[in-house]
Symmetry: C3
């Protein structure tokens, strides 16, 4: 986004709109956001991490957003609020709004005659939309997207370039799908018969709620018989794999490269760290946090933080220690033997 | 797939076609498959997992497929057979057949004049097919696919939208490639020279056998000099990475997000769990099973199950225990010292 | 690449061009590279791994590239040099050069009137190029690529089919991007506010240096506020995820399926094994090597090799040993207790 796209506001307008306590000149002009370190004229920055506290002294920002504890650490015009990062998100959203749809269909798009595209939706070049599909008001379909048949796409949705949506998928309003996302490919369903894999037709759908964002090259498979469901407000990072029949509860956030195996149900307000996996047919409670690079192999019934990471070390130290892992059962047995021996000795002595 | 696409059969016809013991009214009409829980009129469901046994009492399915041990647990019309899930796969395949090709080339496709596309193949909108490539009988190429030059694609193949096949790749008959699949990109081959990476041209091909299915966004790299080979009947889930010169034996199934490093040879009838990795230049025997999230670092010569998963725990417990991992070598030494001390003591005493 | 594309040279020409000591007939014709095992007439092969030493006796290559220690193990015409693999890379690059651009724009491409495409660049079919974007001399844009607005693409770049480059990205000269690559998608930036995720606009860019190669389906996210940077000569394999604000130092090579979390800085000349992860906001020194399937959770200040892999075993052995992991803290405490008990005993005795 070039700076010409950005709006121009005063600090006073911002604090009237989003709240917080304004200290300093309300007429301070704000036209962009920045980090404390890189900020220049007309920029607003924020302090959310105590680590960067010293930068308050040196920043050239026009204004800053700070928490109560830092409210007197700077003489700059500032907004004091309980959550500077969330406040910053609001201000940045104001200054950097999503580009609205430019209504119309590019002539190079191939749109089936039975598809229903809202008059104020934007369909980019070389897009394909299949039979009976519906594109809601003000939605934007980026170049090269392929929308199958019988797809329902809500209002104000944004599909970046080269997204693929298979037949029958349902995508809510204000959903953002990044490039390379594949919605509705077949789940991995095969039955073994005489040493050959028989394909089990995947006839469920993918149903995605409102306000969901899905990162680049993430895949969400259609259900085997029933549907794969992504509830409202879920945020999925890049290169995540969601298998068939999975349900992800509302407002759960999943970091990049996670894999969720078939039929697993994940609760609401969970946070799952990057490169983690959850095996199939499990149930994960609401408000569970899973560390990065952890494999969850059993259902989790209680909220809380769960981890299964092998701690890294220098290769040399790792070799020494990891070699013992293959003898841990034996080591535990040897400790037990020592305990019994000593107990017996002590028994003899007493 | 809408229900209008589905065929309509009787239970009698089904049992004549696929075998099994029919109990109940052979004229029961079957038009769809369902789970025991969601089934309604004209639906056939199955019981393959004892966990769902109780649902036999409450299901509203028109008929069910069950194993011998469950044959008398329901009064519904039923087919009794040794493997209800495989039987279900056959029935579902009958009721939900792949849509046949609609012969013809969409006018928006860009097909080189030297390409040979079978007259009864279907080429979707905005497809690109390069020089001298061949598309076999009844194959379907989805919208937005890019097929390079000198590609051979067999009969009855199905490429979903937005698949990319590089020059020179060979893809067998009845192969299914899902959206975002990339076949034949360069392998990761570089030689270090004076601290710079020199590209080693990747001049091998990818050769894919018959009846292979490859999931969304999976990548199979071309060979460095010779070929990368995926044998007949292999099933690859989504987001798998197959490096250059790998060979995957027939009928092996690999779950999502697995990475196989260069020149590794995997046997036939293996099963590899999601998010696992196999390092380069290894040989894995036939009928090996690898657990999810496991890294295989040595060749495996015997069939069997192999695992290398760090067990997850609450973050709190994990912290306590994982801290010891960096001292395991030392802990083992201390146990050894204790054993020797006690041995010496006991020696003195005796 | 068909053999007709390959050039024809003599061994003498090759050794004059790339150095090394030539033994045997300098007029030996060389038209292709091969492995020792598969080589035939006019093929040059190499020995870089002692494991394949015996193949020197049986190879049908016309000539071989060997190191000093193997210089007398064959009577074939040969080039003796310090690094046979790097030498081979040079020879193969000579015999298998990248196809040069075929200047011109395919009529099916949709190129904004304000875009500036070099006259000798090649733009494939069904490519989209947005406003104000620049394509440098002799670059090739493969079929189906979508280049956004305000993108700068250097000279002699090669974008394979179906690559997506978001608005504002900067890509250097001689960069190779493989199919399915997504450059510049939004980073995963959300602030929590009243249990809802607020999107933090991602307004930084992706800046990619010269001589970078990026493998199929790899994603590089744009910066949140400032830029994500991939320095010169970096090589990224397939299906890697680079999060917002990451910086990857020059000439670092990263194997497939790695994830680098937000704001992490990686040094120069590092090598990162496949399926590894690095958590956010870390700094990794120059010349660090990270093993496959390892999670790095702290900054690394010293060059060297680092590992955090759980060693695999048969499932049976793994079960026995892994069960102890949940009691390691306790086991260490029991050993400490034994030590104290013995110390006390020995104290009493002395």
């Amino acid at each position: 986004m070039s700076s010409s796209d950005q709006k121009n506001h005063t600090l006073g307008e911002i604090s009237r709109r989003f709240g917080g306590r304004l200290i300093g000149d309300p007429d301070t002009r704000i036209s962009r956001v920045a980090t404390l370190e890189s900020a220049g004229p007309e920029a607003i920055a924020f302090l959310a991490n105590e680590r960067y506290r010293n930068q308050l002294q040196t920043t050239r920002a026009a204004a800053v957003i700070v928490g109560e504890t830092a409210s007197e650490l700077t003489g700059l015009p500032r907004i004091v609020c309980p959550d500077p990062y969330a406040y910053f998100a609001l201000v940045s959203g104001l200054l950097n709004p999503l580009r609205p749809a430019q209504p119309g269909l590019q002539p190079s798009a191939v749109i089936d005659a039975t598809a229903v595209v809202a008059g104020d939706a934007e369909v980019g070049p070389l897009v394909v939309i299949g039979k009976n599909s519906i594109v809601g008001a003000r939605s934007r379909i980026g170049a090269g997207c392929v929308i199958g048949s019988d797809v329902v796409l809500g209002e104000d949705a944004l599909l970046h370039a080269n997204v693929t949506v298979y037949d029958g998928s349902v995508v809510g309003s204000r959903v953002i799908l990044h490039s390379g996302v594949v919605i509705g490919a077949d789940g991995f369903g095969f039955a073994l018969s005489e040493e050959r894999w028989l394909k089990v037709p995947q006839i469920g759908r993918v149903v995605i709620g409102n306000d969901v964002e899905i990162g680049a090259n993430t895949t969400v498979d259609r259900g085997a018989i029933e549907d794969t469901v992504i509830e409202d407000g879920v945020k999925l990072d890049n290169q995540i794999q969601i298998a068939h029949n999975v349900r992800i509860g509302a407002h759960t956030a999943i970091a990049a490269c996670v894999g969720i195996a078939g039929s697993t149900k994940i609760g609401r307000h969970c946070r799952i760290g990057g490169m983690s996996g959850i095996t199939g047919h499990l149930t994960i409670a609401d408000r569970v946090e899973i560390s990065a690079h952890t494999l969850i192999t059993k259902s989790i019934e209680k909220p809380g933080a769960y981890t299964g990471v092998y701690p890294f070390d220098t290769n040399r130290e790792w070799r020494t220690n990891a070699a013992q892992l293959r003898h841990l059962g034996e080591l535990a047995a040897r400790v037990r033997a020592l305990e019994q021996m000593l107990k017996k000795q002590n028994g003899r002595k007493s």
